[in-house]
């Protein structure tokens, strides 16, 4: 039957979820949802083989709105769970996902170390530069000076998630924009196909709480690195320089990409049988007892 399915090609409808969407009308998250579906269609990945692991926030609700396997994790904790899921069942396409507060605030340590560890999965950050679900507090990526109820005198220096990623030698570092679905879906597709940890930071306008970084703001600023003649995403220094651009011009696209051993390679699982498919056999402990005599 699985064979049969494969023959029929998947369309966006195959990812349709009938859960009511609780986002505000106009939210950038709709663009991301659309782009993800397109990428999955492009790659013809059956929803049964896709696992989304999300955090908590507006972004964290995402997998409910897509037909797929899903583990809605704690706030900030999607990455460790996603890594483990991929390790124990490499046959799944694993995509972690969440907001900027979730990923770069609460989850900052996992973000750093997921990039170093380089397990083969994709991480989509809905970066609206604000804590939306909790109603508009400053986030790690809020622009410096951003005024909210928790920073009435303005936010301090913002985290530059791409610069940090490149500093950790993350193996795939990209920025998408929720207002450019074709490019975003291409980036997501490339991220999924990349062997290793792939970070896609997505500029996502929040129409309710971020009145600075709006669609208009981005529309006036974004440009694609792929349109830049000679841009070499393998050049770490250039990529770092590019990542520092945030002002009149904001680069999007795959800023940095490098082939690095994935974490799984350092494990013993050479025979390719996923851990979840192994028989549990107590006799495996026999020789351990012998050691102790």
């Amino acid at each position: 039957m699985a064979e049969e399915r494969k023959a029929v090609s998947l369309t966006e409808n195959d990812y349709f979820s009938d859960i009511e969407i609780a986002w505000c009308p106009g939210c950038g998250n709709f663009g991301i949802l659309k782009a993800v579906k397109q990428a999955l269609v492009d790659l013809q990945l059956p929803p049964q083989k896709v696992l989304f692991v999300s955090g908590i926030g507006q972004a964290g609700k995402f997998p409910h709105y897509l037909k797929c396997n899903m583990l809605n994790e704690l706030h900030g904790r999607s990455l460790p769970a996603a890594a483990a899921a991929k390790i124990v069942n490499p046959e799944l396409t694993v995509i972690a996902e969440g907001g900027d507060g979730d990923g770069y605030g609460e989850g900052g340590n996992h973000y750093l170390h997921a990039m170093l560890r380089n397990v083969d999965f994709t991480y989509l950050v809905h970066n609206n530069q604000v804590y939306a679900l909790t109603k508009g507090q400053t986030s790690p990526t809020s622009d410096q000076g951003f005024v909210s109820k928790t920073t009435p005198n303005g936010a301090h220096e913002a985290l530059n998630p791409l610069a940090v990623a490149i500093a950790t030698n993350a193996s795939f570092v990209a920025r998408g924009y929720a207002g450019d679905i074709p490019q975003l879906s291409r980036i997501i597709g490339a991220a999924i196909q990349h062997k290793g940890f792939a970070l896609v930071d997505i500029l996502q306008p929040c129409v309710s709480f971020n009145h600075i970084n709006t669609y208009q703001f981005f529309q006036e600023r974004v440009y694609k690195v792929e349109d830049e003649v000679g841009y070499d995403s393998a050049d770490r220094l250039k990529a770092f320089e590019k990542a520092l651009e945030w002002g009149d011009k904001i680069p999007t696209g795959i800023l940095y990409k490098v082939e690095r051993p994935v974490f799984e390679d350092s494990l013993w699982q050479a025979d390719g049988i996923p851990l979840v498919k192994r028989k549990l056999n107590p006799q495996i402990a026999v020789h351990l007892m012998k050691e102790l005599i």
Binding site: M1, I19, P47, Q48, K49, L51, V53, I56, K61, P63, H64, K67, C68, N69, M70, L71, N72, E73, L74, R77, L79, P80, A81, A82, A83, A84, A85, I87, V88, N89, E91, L92, N109, H110, L112, H113, L267, W268, Q269, L275, V276, R278, L280, N281, P282, Q283, I284, A285, V286, H287, L288, M289, L292, I293
Partner: protein, 579 residues
């Protein structure tokens, strides 16, 4: 009855552990029963460490403070431990290195370094000289020692191995010729099919392997680091993935991710790390994900005494977590428990789709006991309501959190057939999707708690030694079992008939059993390695009964039979309550 106690003491870095371990193993191979424990500081060099080996022809399952042979690698050891010597107790030391100011002690002077250099060409083998010397002193079989040493150095090159054997032989010969008249003398020869000699942590690790654990993520922390290292070193042969993540939060969330995806998963930690995992335990609770968490207690709060022992986190283990959801807490009494309860933990976690906490402590983690090989044919892997591929293929409308009589719902795995599996840290409906509805919340929360009904039946009754005419019940939990059982025997010898009630499977609490047991004697004393009497508290909460006395120790040192007897003499049994 033989009750031989050897204490090897010195600075961190002097190889005390090796001497003690090798001796312990030789004694086990010689057919004795052995209990060994160690005491060390949170430093790598210097300070004061010691390793105690106790051997008997009867069961010994706890340390004793009374020493027959004190092996002193530095003079501090003599100073700190001379009062522990038995009347005929002997001190082995190298006067050349330590000086000769040991008035009033029975000293066996042995030039450890000199013999090492002479026999093996390297003073680093002084350890082996000392091990040989102790064996010579007690007239043990040198061939057994050589076998054990050869195995110990099996991974080193042949020269190193030979050097250590030579060194051991020279130590053996030296003392064999100088045995004080009438000193303990062991039988020769090796027992056929000898017991294993292993620590609580080794037993627990083996339990994880036998129990089908496939994924371990853990951040180093005393006293459980050696579990992590044991498993990491054997990951391939045990078909396991072992990860050291960035922190304990990552560890527990990896465990949830792995378990949700279908692998039996476990983490190990101590109090501070466990504290960081508490949020994740709530996550396992609401997503109904099987997770095994080993909590190795040490004296707190916070960093406390990193290398010592305590039982201060029983109520924390039971009550830690957001909201309300079921869990199991198992507190192994000894190495055997450590093995079998780890398997039980892995089974219950999957059968009930809940977090299970294994509550151990430094004392059990590090102390070593001889025990027959575990019976792997007894081990059953129970995966509960985990659906087979075939069952999954027949599903039409899969509901991960379907309401059921037992509270347990059928569990499919992501990627298994055509179903999709949704799990949510928010409250959710039967399909796993988030809901805000009052009725659904009411039902799902009740469903989860319903599991306690089944769980109560899974809990094995406590160990109970019941004696006709008993006047007092000695009560304990976890790693103090050996000491309590020994104290019970000693009391009996003194004519005080007593029962022993010892709880390993502690949550859900076996209230009925405990309640009935307690009513058999007028007095009851709870013995715990903590200051506030957490089991005593739990007994009152669960049974409404108050115990009549408590013995508590909270200085980080393990409870022994003589400690219990001393405390009891101080008035507990006599007065019903301690002053």
């Amino acid at each position: 009855m033989l009750d031989l106690n050897i204490l090897v003491g010195g600075e961190a870095g002097q190889g005390i552990q090796t001497i003690g371990f090798v001796l312990g193993k030789v004694l086990v191979r010689s057919g004795l029963q052995v209990f060994a424990d160690q005491d060390y500081e949170s430093r790598i060099r210097g300070g004061h460490n010691f390793f105690r080996v106790r051997a008997s022809d009867r069961a010994v399952r706890a340390q004793s403070e009374k020493v027959d042979i004190l092996v002193a690698l530095d003079s501090r050891t003599v100073k700190l431990h001379k009062n522990e010597l038995k009347e005929n107790g002997l001190v082995i030391l190298d006067k050349q290195a330590l000086g000769s100011d040991f008035a009033g002690l029975q000293i066996l002077d042995i030039p450890l370094e000199k013999l090492a250099v002479e026999s093996a060409g390297d003073k680093i083998t002084a350890n082996s000289v000392a091990a040989g010397a102790v064996l010579g002193l007690i007239g043990g079989d040198p061939e057994v020692l050589f076998k054990v040493l050869a195995a110990q150095f099996a991974k080193n090159n042949e020269n190193v191995r030979a050097e250590n054997l030579n060194a051991a032989r020279s130590g053996y010969d030296y003392t064999a010729q100088r045995r004080p008249a009438g000193f303990i003398k062991l039988a020769q020869g090796e027992k056929a099919g000898p017991n294993m000699f292993l620590s609580g942590n080794e037993a627990l690790s083996m339990g994880a392997v036998a129990g089908g654990c496939k994924f371990v993520s853990a951040y180093p922390m005393t006293p459980v680091t050696s579990i992590l290292e044991y498993l990491a070193g054997r990951a391939k042969e045990c078909e396991m993935v072992v990860i050291q993540p960035e922190d304990e939060i990552s560890a527990i969330n990896m465990v949830v991710g792995a378990a949700y995806t279908g692998a039996r998963a476990m983490t190990v930690t101590s109090g501070s790390g466990y504290a960081l995992m508490v949020e994740g335990i709530g996550l396992a609770g609401i997503t109904e994900t099987p997770a095994v968490i080993v909590l190795g207690q040490r004296p707190g709060p916070a960093v406390g005494l990193p290398t010592r022992t305590e039982q201060g986190e029983l109520l924390f283990a039971i009550r830690s977590g957001t909201g309300e959801s079921p869990r199991v807490v198992l507190a192994p009494a000894d190495v055997e428990d450590a093995f079998y309860l780890t398997i039980k933990a892995l089974n219950l976690a999957e059968q009930y789709q809940i977090p299970v906490i294994i509550l151990t402590d430094t004392h059990l983690a590090n102390s070593m006991t001889d025990t027959p090989e575990f019976d792997l044919s007894q081990v059953k892997i129970e995966r509960g309501f985990l659906l087979a591929d075939k069952e999954v293929s027949l599903l039409t409308n899969y509901q991960r959190f379907a309401i059921s009589e037992s509270g347990v719902s059928p569990r499919a795995l992501p990627g298994q057939g055509q179903v999709m599996v949704a799990a949510d840290s928010d409250e959710h409906d039967e399909s796993g999707h988030l809901t805000e509805k009052a009725e659904i919340r009411h039902r799902q929360n009740a469903k989860r708690l319903k599991k306690y009904e089944g769980l109560r039946k899974e809990i094995s009754p406590p160990r109970f030694i019941k004696r006709r005419g008993a006047v007092v019940t000695l009560i304990g939990w976890g790693s103090t079992y050996g000491a309590i059982a020994e104290a019970s025997g000693l009391l009996l010898e003194q004519g005080i008939i007593n029962n022993v009630l010892h709880i390993s499977e502690i949550w859900p609490f076996p209230a009925e059993f405990v309640s009935e047991a307690l009513q058999l004697t007028v007095k009851s004393v709870v013995i715990e390695s903590n200051a506030t009497g957490q089991l005593a508290y739990l007994i009152r909460a669960e049974t409404g009964l108050s115990v009549s006395g408590q013995v508590n120790r909270w200085d980080g040192r393990p409870i022994s039979a003589s400690f219990i007897l001393d405390q009891l003499k101080k008035g507990i049994i006599e007065n019903g309550r301690r002053a």
